[in-house]
Amino acid sequence: MMEQNRKVKKIIVTVLSFLICAIVFFPIVYMISNSFKVELDIFKSPFHIIPEKFVNNYNSVWNGAYDFVRFYLNSLKVTAISVCGLVITSLLAAYGFSKIKYKGRDILFLVYMATLMIPTQLTMIPRFMIYKELGIYNTHWALILPGMTTAFGTFLLRQFMISIPYEMNEAAKIDGAGELRILFQILLPLLKPGIITLVLISIVWSWNDYENAMLFLTDKNLFTIPLGLISFMDETGKQYSLIMAAAVSAALPPMILFLFGQRYFVEGLAKGAVKG
């Protein structure tokens, strides 16, 4: 009786949960569905999830008539360079904050942590000036350089690094290994989960970064995906079918990454990550 009761409960909860999932998933399905529709069918009443007439809007988006391909390549470039850079600077800094002992280290780290909570939106104006001063305004470096030096990366990798006992370092030192060698040959293999987590999360953030691109890029040839989508809206004359095909193309890479690396995402975000 109890068993059966529990089973009924389970079925009810499962049905309700999938109902909520359906609601959550609906905007994404709607986006994909519209990307295969004829423009006229998009706002048709009643609307159909499965298009009445399939058209391949992706072909028009990708065939080179619009700048979408260039936006995509720009995003790939910016994301790839910033994430690679971030992993290297974060590895070094995390090591410097956890495996080398020196005076003042913890104060430096505290300053770091204190700013982790502060959203970048609050520093738009000074950064605008500084970037102009440095000559990186309206170049990809305005996204890459800040992207490869976030406090988040250091914080995350340090969390992984402090769980490795210091004895590893001592043993390696007795064998005559220098700090760099300890980091890259001995600790690196142990840090793999942490690095994968950092790579996945920062790819998603960098790929989706709208605000910085909007503030610091004005040259259309430099636009990354989020800005590209906006200018694509104008270029196509608000043709929603094409925009949805572009939107799906834009949204797909982070989603696929997530599907493959779910457990790393959860671990990294739960480790005290705050999106800056």
Binding site: K10, V13, T14, S17, F18, C21, V24, F25, P27, I28, Y30, M31, F43, S45, I88, T89, G96, I100, K101, Y102, L108, Y112, T115, M117, I118, P119, T120, Q121, L122, T123, M124, I125, P126, R127, F128, I130, P146, M148, T149, A151, N208, Y210, M214, P226, L227, L229, I230, Y240, M244, A250, M255, L257, F258, Q262, V266, E267, L269, A270, V274, K275
Partner: protein, 289 residues
């Protein structure tokens, strides 16, 4: 060189590549923003005027409106997101089949591109032909104008925020629920504690560090909301979706008033700092590590 000095040098060299970037792109801008907030500066000469920007803001109607909208936005999103996240996580963890599929679907919005999603939102909530209103009009005669209505626009953006982050909260709660000591739960069950009592007296307290983390993250996420306003509504209709970050942005880049814009940022900065400190102080009352 003695060992100590050598270690300092080594340590600094290791942190330098990251720290220099952090210094230039985060720390200096933060301090500079505060300094600019005490000046009158419209991209020409800069003049120190003390607290005048702040005093002017206090009597400015548009600042009051943005402030109010920001508070409303926080109140309308943070509790809903957390309760939904926790509620769904609790029931799914306990009873549902297909847990990992549910988790995957719920988390997807977090990875979505904000511009793409804003366009989807504009279509979903399109007043005459959008699917949402098509559904509503089946049951009642009139439907809200959503993003085109000054009463509903902010609510529509709140829905977007909840959509993006409820799954994120749920996934983090799901991970935390695994850590709830099962012997405690069993003991309570044997003693005849009801499900509700178990939830309030065992599960909630063991989840408190997670709740603390999620609460701060969600508060900041909502306080800094900007992109949907800039993409979909331009703060409108009227000023119904103008929030603090958005107002700071247009004050700086549309009206070239850097001093006032920085004062708005600084106020928001102080609010976030206050919340964070208050939470840290208050957390030993309700957070059990």
């Amino acid at each position: 060189m003695n060992r100590n000095k050598k270690n300092v040098l080594k340590g600094l060299l290791f942190i330098a590549p990251n720290y220099i970037g952090f210094f230039i792109f985060t720390l200096v801008p933060m301090v500079t923003a505060i300094v600019i907030s005490f000046t009158k500066w419209k991209m020409g000469d800069m003049e120190f005027i003390g607290l005048k920007n702040y005093l002017e803001l206090l009597s400015s109607r548009s600042f009051y409106k943005s402030f109010l909208n920001t508070v409303l936005f926080v109140l309308g999103t943070v509790p809903v997101t957390i309760v939904l996240g926790l509620g769904i996580a609790y029931f799914v963890d306990r009873y549902a089949y297909g847990k990992s599929l549910i988790r995957t679907i719920m988390f997807l919005p977090y990875t979505a591109n904000i511009v793409a999603i804003c366009y989807v939102w504009m279509m979903l909530f399109q007043p005459t032909y959008g699917p949402v209103n098509q559904l509503i009009l089946k049951f009642v005669k009139t439907a809200p104008g959503w993003l085109t209505s000054s009463e509903w626009a902010l609510i529509c953006i709140m829905a977007l925020q909840v959509w993006m982050y409820a799954g994120y909260c749920m996934v983090i709660y799901l991970a935390a629920l695994k850590q709830v000591p099962s012997d405690l739960m069993e003991a309570a069950a044997i003693d005849g504690a009801s499900r509700y009592k178990q939830f309030v007296h065992i599960i909630l307290p063991s989840l408190s560090p997670t709740t603390f983390f999620i609460l701060i993250t969600m508060l900041i996420n909502s306080l800094k909301i900007f992109a949907p306003m800039n993409i979909m509504t331009d703060g409108g209709p009227g000023d119904s979706t103008s929030v603090l970050v958005f107002q700071s942005y247009i004050t700086a880049f549309r009206y070239n008033d850097m001093g006032t814009a920085s004062a708005i940022s600084t106020i928001l900065f102080l609010i976030i700092l206050g919340i964070t400190l208050y939470q840290w102080k208050g957390q030993n009352k309700w957070v059990n590590y």
